[in-house]
Structures are given as structure tokens and as C-alpha cells.
């Protein structure tokens, strides 16, 4: 395993009945890098994501986070270890306020323990600190004005921003973004990408994202992993991958460009 | 539709248990218990198939299902009291519940679903319906036991094993009905459409299937089977009470869960399994507690394999 790989996927496989959705997948994600996971529809990217983040139980293989095996561990354990994910269909909690969404993500609140919850003085300070941190993050993402509104009143794009901001409350080491630009207009998309690159630059957060917009992928990622039919077809820098014949044939010559 | 290997494994396990019981309690006891188990398994299975069909198509656990069993039995008793031939009364009972089920779908379930009522609300609705129906039957018919007028005394002896004539007839008929239903599901166009709905109701709609019609027909079949189950339970028993369905519904749930939800053959297998294990258990423990065995199996299956022995639907929030 390369010394600077924060996240390592090793021979991961997952079958659904007769179909091998993920077949012996191996790749590394270097610390502090932005790595893209691409491939045609049905390549197994979502399933791999779900296996890595603990939402689907993998059949075989291993996933290492900073050398420690996290394969088949439940999602909440991974989040606490610094491996955080977002969802393609955003999971903003609509009936809670934007601020509550953020406060929920705070990993350190003793008030979340049943035994202490009724005793406000025990967790009031931590809640206050979290509130400050949350407002700062909301400010960065341009959502400060919406802090007290129900998250359900946010637009789709704002929800994407909230989901990312919320993930950052966990102070993650690696963030897995599931199609962050899906259904997002160009301006917002650019804003999201700026935030993502900002993460890498300012916090040295490692990013792994699934994306279909190849133009974006080529321009903004440090490394690319290409999957097709459950397997890794190629990996490397954008320049290397762009030239790789296997990649081109995997996509059957269709490379999407910006409209 | 059933994993052949799994079926064989279960049969092997049953055979092993049977051998042990035969050794400890005697072959005759075992045979009697087995016969009783199949008889019970029959009406459990009939009830389970109806429940599983509705779940497959609507993703609804119909908590009011037990009351359809009661309704069927009572309607049969009503017509029988008019001195109609028993067979006719049975048929009328089944038809009545089938018609009632469809009526309920058209007048209540469909409009409620169209309103966009949530899943939780539908579940609570079914619960309320159960209480309403059970007590409505008690109100109309009175809480006392009523006689079915069936022959409960004629019995046949196969060696030292006793089988009531009525019991034997309803069991054989019941199994035939279930097999017919299962075949119909697989072979007829209606059955195929119903299975398509079970997979995905949206997908079925896009392929041009008249989902409303299939849902209504499924209710009719589900209700009819439930009525039949109640009738087949009541005939050998000789009496009906308003709690008839309620006393059976949890064992029927157990049968559905054990067999695997959404699978008609599974419901048959589950029903038989629950019936057999309950009756076999009486060889070992006190008979009055045998229903608890069904519950225990329910919980065991939920622990070990929530999708049931033959089921495919996702029941675990993974």
C-alpha cells in the first residue's frame, strides 16, 4: 500500500444474486487528493460506494482507512472515524431547521446521551460551541441567512450545499461525494467545485467522488479510477486515463462535454 | 419459484425432528400430531397466502386480515342457518368476503391511497379497521358461540390415528386451492401481471398493466382465501366466535414471515411449518401453550432470516 494512501480498497466484491455488481475492485486514494470514480451506468460505482461506506455488506475484500480495516463496519462507525459520505439524492432533514441539521452532525455532544440529555447544563456549552462552528460553515457555504428555516424549504442546489457543509461538521479526513453535481446548474456546480477544492487546499481533506461529467472530472481531479461492469478498468492521472484505450472503449467512444 | 435445495434442506430437518419425536414419544403419537399439524397448516396457509398476496402488491401488512376469516365463517353460518346445503353456504361465504374485500378496496383503500396517505397512516388505518370489523361482527351476531352445523363427529381411523371426516375434506380442498392459486400466479396472464406489480408497481404501470384492476382482483382473491380459511377452521371446530380470526392471525403472520413474504408457495410452506411445529410441540410441552411455539418461530425467523425461508422482499433496513 502506497505510503500516502489514506483510503485503500482491496479486492472488494459484492454479488446480488447472480450479478457481480462489484468484482475484485482494488485502488488507492492518496491523502489530500481529489480522486474521481467514473464509469458508464451500471459499472458498480454506487454499489462500491455503499460497500466502502458500510451501507451495503460486501462479500469479500477489505477497505483500509489509514491502515485500519473498516470493511463491513457500520456507517456510523466509519463517520466517527472520519470517513463521511454524501448522497446523490440529498438527505437534508426537511423537518428540522438548517441549523439543526448542522448541529446534528456535531460528533461531540454529550447531550446526545440519554443519561445526560435531561440535564441541560451538562451539554449547553458544547451546544453553543457547535452553534458557532455551524454558523461559520453556513457562512462559508452561503446559507447563513437560511439558518433558522426548515431545510425542506431549501432549493435543490442549496440542499447540496447543506449536505456538504453538514458533512464538514464531522471534521472528516475523507469525504465521499456521490454525484455531487447531479442535477445542478452550472453556477452552483462551479460553487460546489470551488468548495471541494477549498477543502483539499485548506483542510487537506481527501476527496473521492463519483461523477458523470467527464469534463469536470478531467479538469478538477488529481487521480481517476475508471470502473466498468464491476471492475476497475484503468486508473491514474487524468492525462493517463484520457489516453487509455480501455477507458475509451468502456464508454464506447462517448465522452460528454459541457453544453 | 422455490429454491429446491432449501426446500430439501427443510424437509430433511423436519424428517430428523420427526425421527427424534417418534423415538421419544412413539410413532402413533407422532402420526397423530403430524395429521393435526397438516390440518392446522391448511387454514394457516390459506390465510397466509391471502395476506402475502396483498403485501406483495400493495406493500401493506393488512392487520385487518384476521377479521376476513371471521367474516367468512359467520356468513357461512348465516346461510347455513337458512337451511341451505352446506357446500352452498361455504361458497356464499367465500364470495361474500371476496365481494366485501373488493368493495372495501373501491370505497376505502383506493381513495385513501390516492389522497397520498402515508404508509404509517395506512397501517394504523388497517388496525382501526380490524377493531371495527371484529366488534361489528360481535355487535351484529352477538358474542355467543354459534354452531356451524357441520358434521364434527364422523371420524376415520387410519390405524390408531384419528382424522375427522370434515377435517380431512377441508384440508384436501384447501391444499388443492392453494396449489391452484400458485399455479395461476405462475401460468396465467393475470398471475403474471400480479407478479409484475409485486416487483414494482410503477414499472407495471408503465408497461400498460391496469394496476387498479389487478389490485382489486388481488383483494378479491385475498379476501376469498381468508374467508375460506375461516370457514375451513370453523367447520371441524363446530362453532364460531367473533375472535376466530384474531385468535389465528398471529400464527398466520408467523406463517407469512417464516415462508417469506410475497411468495404464495412460501405461504403454503410457512403455514404447514407453523402447523406442524405447533402440533409436534404438544408432544413435548403442554398443549395449551402451543400457540407460543408459533410466536417463537416468528421471532426466530426474524432474528435469523427476516426475509423468510423462501422470500425475496427486503425486510431489513440495511
Amino acid at each position: 500500500m502506497p505510503a500516502d494512501a489514506l483510503l485503500s480498497v482491496r479486492n472488494v466484491s459484492k454479488r446480488f444474486g447472480a450479478i457481480a455488481a462489484v468484482d475484485d475492485v482494488t485502488f488507492d486514494v492518496a491523502e489530500g487528493s481529489i480522486t474521481a470514480l467514473i464509469g458508464p451506468n451500471g459499472a458498480g460505482k454506487s454499489t462500491l460506494f455503499n460497500v466502502v461506506t458500510g451501507f451495503v455488506r460486501g462479500d469479500r475484500g477489505d477497505v483500509l482507512l489509514d491502515g485500519e480495516s473498516v470493511f463491513r463496519r457500520p456507517p456510523h462507525a466509519l463517520a466517527r472515524r472520519g470517513l463521511v459520505r454524501t448522497f446523490q439524492l440529498t438527505k437534508a432533514l426537511s423537518v428540522m431547521s438548517v441549523l439543526d441539521n448542522m448541529l446534528l452532525a456535531n460528533p461531540r455532544n454529550r447531550g446526545e446521551r440519554l443519561g445526560l440529555a435531561a440535564l441541560r447544563p451538562l451539554w449547553r456549552d458544547e451546544e453553543r460551541r457547535a452553534r458557532v462552528r455551524a454558523r461559520e460553515l453556513l457562512q462559508v457555504f452561503g446559507l447563513a441567512a437560511k439558518a433558522n428555516d426548515y431545510a425542506g424549504t431549501l432549493s435543490g442546489g442549496q440542499r447540496k450545499l447543506l449536505e456538504l457543509a453538514r458533512a464538514l461538521m464531522l471534521e472528516p479526513r475523507v469525504v465521499l461525494l456521490d454525484e455531487p453535481l447531479a442535477g445542478v446548474n452550472r453556477t452552483l456546480g462551479r460553487s460546489l467545485l470551488d468548495h471541494i477544492e477549498g477543502l483539499r487546499a485548506e483542510r487537506r481533506t481527501t476527496i473521492l467522488f463519483v461523477e458523470h461529467d467527464l469534463d469536470v472530472v478531467m479538469r478538477h481531479s488529481d487521480a481517476i479510477v475508471v470502473m466498468a461492469q464491476g471492475r476497475v478498468v484503468a486508473s491514474g492521472t487524468p492525462a493517463e486515463v484520457r489516453r487509455d484505450e480501455r477507458v475509451i472503449s468502456a464508454y464506447l467512444g462517448t465522452v460528454t462535454t459541457d453544453e | 419459484m422455490i429454491a429446491r435445495r432449501r426446500l430439501l434442506a427443510i424437509l430433511a430437518a423436519l424428517a430428523a425432528v420427526a425421527v427424534v419425536l417418534a423415538i421419544t414419544d412413539g410413532l402413533v403419537e407422532l402420526a397423530q400430531a403430524t395429521v393435526n399439524g397438516v390440518i392446522a397448516g391448511n387454514y394457516y396457509a390459506l390465510g397466509a397466502v391471502g395476506l402475502t398476496l396483498i403485501f406483495g402488491v400493495l406493500r401493506l401488512v393488512n392487520f385487518a386480515h384476521g377479521e376476513f376469516l371471521t367474516l367468512g365463517a359467520y356468513v357461512m353460518v348465516l346461510f347455513s342457518s337458512f337451511d341451505l346445503p352446506l357446500v352452498l353456504a361455504v361458497v356464499l361465504g367465500v364470495v361474500a368476503v371476496a365481494v366485501f374485500s373488493v368493495g372495501l378496496e373501491l370505497a376505502v383503500w383506493k381513495p385513501v391511497r390516492r389522497r397520498g396517505v402515508g404508509e404509517l397512516q395506512l397501517l394504523l388505518f388497517a388496525l382501526g379497521l380490524a377493531f371495527f370489523m371484529r366488534n361489528a361482527i360481535a355487535f351484529v351476531a352477538g358474542p355467543e358461540d354459534r354452531q356451524t352445523g357441520a358434521d364434527v363427529t364422523t371420524a376415520w381411523h387410519l390405524g390408531e390415528v384419528i382424522v375427522g371426516r370434515t377435517e380431512l375434506i377441508v384440508t384436501v380442498l384447501g391444499i388443492i386451492v392453494i396449489v391452484l392459486i400458485a399455479v395461476a400466479l405462475k401460468a396465467t396472464s393475470l398471475g403474471k401481471q400480479a407478479r409484475a406489480l409485486s416487483d414494482s408497481i410503477q414499472l407495471a404501470e408503465t408497461t400498460g398493466i391496469d394496476t387498479d384492476r389487478i389490485v382489486a382482483i388481488t383483494w378479491a382473491v385475498s379476501g376469498g382465501l381468508a374467508g375460506l380459511a375461516g370457514i375451513f377452521y370453523a367447520l371441524p371446530a363446530g362453532t364460531v366466535t367473533p375472535n376466530l380470526g384474531y385468535s389465528l392471525i398471529l400464527s398466520i403472520f408467523a406463517a407469512v414471515v417464516v415462508g417469506g413474504i410475497g411468495n404464495a408457495y412460501g405461504a403454503l410452506a410457512g403455514g404447514m411449518l407453523i402447523g406442524l411445529t405447533q402440533e409436534w410441540a404438544t408432544l413435548v410441552i403442554e398443549p395449551s401453550v402451543k400457540v407460543a411455539v408459533g410466536f417463537a418461530m416468528l421471532i426466530l425467523v426474524l432474528l435469523v432470516r427476516p426475509e423468510g425461508l423462501f422470500g425475496a422482499a427486503r425486510t431489513v433496513d440495511r
Binding site: 461506506t53 451501507f55 457500520p74 456507517p75 456510523h76 463517520a79 463521511v84 448522497f87 438527505k91 432533514l93 426537511s94 423537518v95 428540522m96 439543526d100 448541529l103 446534528l104 452532525a105 455532544n109 447531550g111 446526545e112 440519554l114 440529555a117 435531561a118 451539554w123 451546544e127 426548515y150 425542506g152 453538514r166 464531522l170 | 401488512v61 396517505v117 402515508g118 404508509e119 404509517l120 397512516q121 394504523l124 388505518f125 388496525l127 382501526g128 379497521l129 380490524a130 377493531f131 371495527f132 370489523m133 366488534n135 355487535f139 352477538g142 358474542p143 403472520f253 414471515v257 401453550v289 400457540v291 407460543a292 410466536f295 416468528l298 421471532i299 426474524l302 427476516p306 431489513v316 433496513d317
Partner: protein
């Protein structure tokens, strides 16, 4: 016409009627607090609350009657017993879909009733368990004396009402406090989207188990109040219709509203008790059947026409649409 339906409205000015309503409403109110916590806040569908109530009541009764434990200790010990029952049910079934979980809890509730009926030696079976009320009788007498002193005077069951009311208000406040805490925030998140909560580092299974345990404890306390009221415990007192009552209360008051539970329980119990005074030319059994039919019908109607209850906000329901 007048012969058919005779309704005497006298009962409305009869203090005993209101005291009875109060006692029952507070008992079922505490019972329903647990259901609200489970369904309205956490999103788990607990159809077994009657079973937890039975476990609590019987645990207390058995400790006092069979093991000669003091009444106060018995009540204290009954709570961990009910919580143990919650763990027993929850551990295997909380990871299931909400409707399978409902089946599981209902089965549990029926098993408890079944055991209570058949385990004669321990529970007294069908004939009932009695003899645990001595301590209460003394306490009640002392409360009576105090009531006399402050000028309210002695009425039957009034001491129980006073205690129940105090407990209901206290427990409602406590639960509301819990729900407004970060712990409650996690529960609300679980209700809306469990996967989101898990992705944010919350062990949702543990939280759901805690929610169920708290509900069981509340059911046990309600069970003590019921036990004192009826003096003899028998399995029929824990019929699943209680669960229907609980859900009607919770929906009436509004899913998620704890103040609503208090209002809902008084509303439901008032309706149920007032209808006892409607004189119908029917047998007792049939009258009981009508009352239960009405409860079922009310549940159905509420769920369809007014799922947000008397006080719920319809926008919240729109946001929450499953």
C-alpha cells in the same frame, strides 16, 4: 322516539364522573407518552405498549404479593423489568422494516398476555392477582386527610387522581425536555431519514432501543396506576385495544406533540366514559362492542381526514410525507 334513546346528562355535573375520567385519562396519558416518543418522535411503530404495561404491572404485583417486597421497592424494580422486556423485543426486531417491527411488538404483547393467562402460579391467571394495594390504601388515606385539611374534602379515588395528575405532568415535562435535547434531535432525525443519521455518525439502532426502553418504562408507570385503580390484575386488562387507544390519543393530540397527548387522552377518555351513560336497549356485551367499534372508526377517520390531529400543523405533515 323518547323511549328509544334516553340520555341523562346528569353525569356531567357529577364529580365522581370527572374524577373517574381524570384517573383513566392520566393513566392512559402516561401510556400514550411512550407511544408518542416511539411513533411521533422516533418513527418506530410500537404496537406492543400494552405488553410493556402488563410486564410492569405484573412485576410490581408479583413482587408485592408473592415475594413480599415493599410496594415502593416493587414499583422501582418494575421499571428495569419493563426495560429488560424492551431490550428483549427490540434487539431482534428493531432492525426490521417498520411494519415487521409492528408485527413483532404485537406478537410480544400477545405473548405477555398469554403467559399471564397460563402461568397461574405466578400471575394468578384468569382469576387475577390481588393483594398489592395495602400500602396505597394507607397513602391514600393520608392524602385524603390532607385534602380534607385544605378544604377540598374526601372523594373516592380523588387521592389517586391527584397523584396521577402530578405524575402525568411531571413525566410529560421530562419527556418533552428529553425530546428537545440533542438526544431528541437524533431521534427526530431517525424518524425522517435513518440513513442520513447513520451517515452522520449516529448509532441509530442504539437510539431506537433507548426510545423503546423509555416507552416501556412509561408503560410500566402507567401500569402501576392501572393496577392501583382496578385492585386486581388480570390479562383482560391488557387487551390490544389499549394500543388502539394509545394511537388514537397520539394522533388526536398530533404526532410529535406531548402537550397533545394530555389533551388527546382526556378527550378520548371523556368520550368513552360519557358514552357509558347513553342508555341503549342492548346487552352489555353489545354496548361494549359498539364502543370498540367507535374507537376503531375514530382511528380510521383520524388517520384519513385529520392525520395531523387537533393541533398539528399541516405544513409539517407535508414536509414529512412518506
Amino acid at each position: 322516539m323518547t323511549g328509544l334513546l334516553a340520555v341523562s346528562l346528569h353525569f356531567l355535573v357529577n364529580g365522581d364522573f370527572w374524577i373517574n375520567v381524570g384517573v383513566l385519562a392520566t393513566t392512559y396519558g402516561i401510556f400514550a407518552l411512550g407511544i408518542q416518543l416511539n411513533v411521533g418522535t422516533t418513527g418506530i411503530v410500537n404496537f406492543g405498549q400494552a405488553g410493556f404495561m402488563a410486564v410492569g404491572s405484573y412485576a410490581m404485583g408479583i413482587l408485592v404479593v408473592r415475594y413480599e417486597v415493599s410496594f415502593w421497592w416493587a414499583m422501582l424494580l418494575g421499571i428495569p423489568v419493563a426495560i429488560a422486556a424492551a431490550l428483549l423485543v427490540g434487539l431482534p426486531s428493531l432492525r426490521l422494516r417498520y411494519d415487521y417491527f409492528a408485527i413483532s411488538t404485537l406478537a410480544f404483547s400477545e405473548i405477555v398476555r398469554y403467559l399471564a393467562d397460563n402461568w397461574d402460579g405466578l400471575t394468578g391467571g384468569n382469576l387475577g392477582l390481588f393483594g398489592y394495594t395495602d400500602t396505597w390504601t394507607d397513602a391514600s388515606a393520608r392524602i385524603d386527610a390532607w385534602l380534607e385539611k385544605i378544604g377540598i374534602g374526601q372523594r373516592f379515588l380523588l387521592p389517586l387522581l391527584v397523584v396521577n395528575l402530578a405524575l402525568l405532568l411531571l413525566l410529560t415535562a421530562l419527556v418533552a425536555l428529553l425530546v428537545r435535547s440533542p438526544w431528541g434531535r437524533v431521534l427526530n432525525a431517525i424518524r425522517e431519514d435513518e440513513d442520513a443519521a447513520r451517515a452522520l455518525g449516529k448509532n441509530t439502532f442504539a437510539y431506537k432501543l433507548q426510545s423503546l426502553s423509555v416507552a416501556a418504562a412509561l408503560a410500566a408507570i402507567g401500569g402501576y396506576m392501572l393496577a392501583i385503580n382496578i385492585s386486581i390484575l388480570s390479562p383482560q386488562n391488557f387487551d390490544p385495544i389499549l394500543t388502539a387507544y394509545g394511537f388514537v390519543i397520539v394522533i388526536l393530540g398530533g404526532l410529535g406533540s406531548y402537550l397533545g397527548v394530555i389533551v388527546g387522552s382526556f378527550f378520548l377518555i371523556f368520550m368513552l366514559e360519557a358514552t357509558r351513560y347513553v342508555e341503549l336497549p342492548l346487552s352489555d356485551a353489545r354496548v361494549a362492542a359498539v364502543r370498540f367499534m367507535i374507537v376503531g372508526a375514530v382511528l380510521m377517520a383520524l388517520v384519513v381526514f385529520r392525520p395531523q390531529g387537533l393541533f398539528g400543523k399541516s405544513e409539517e405533515l407535508a414536509l414529512r410525507a412518506r
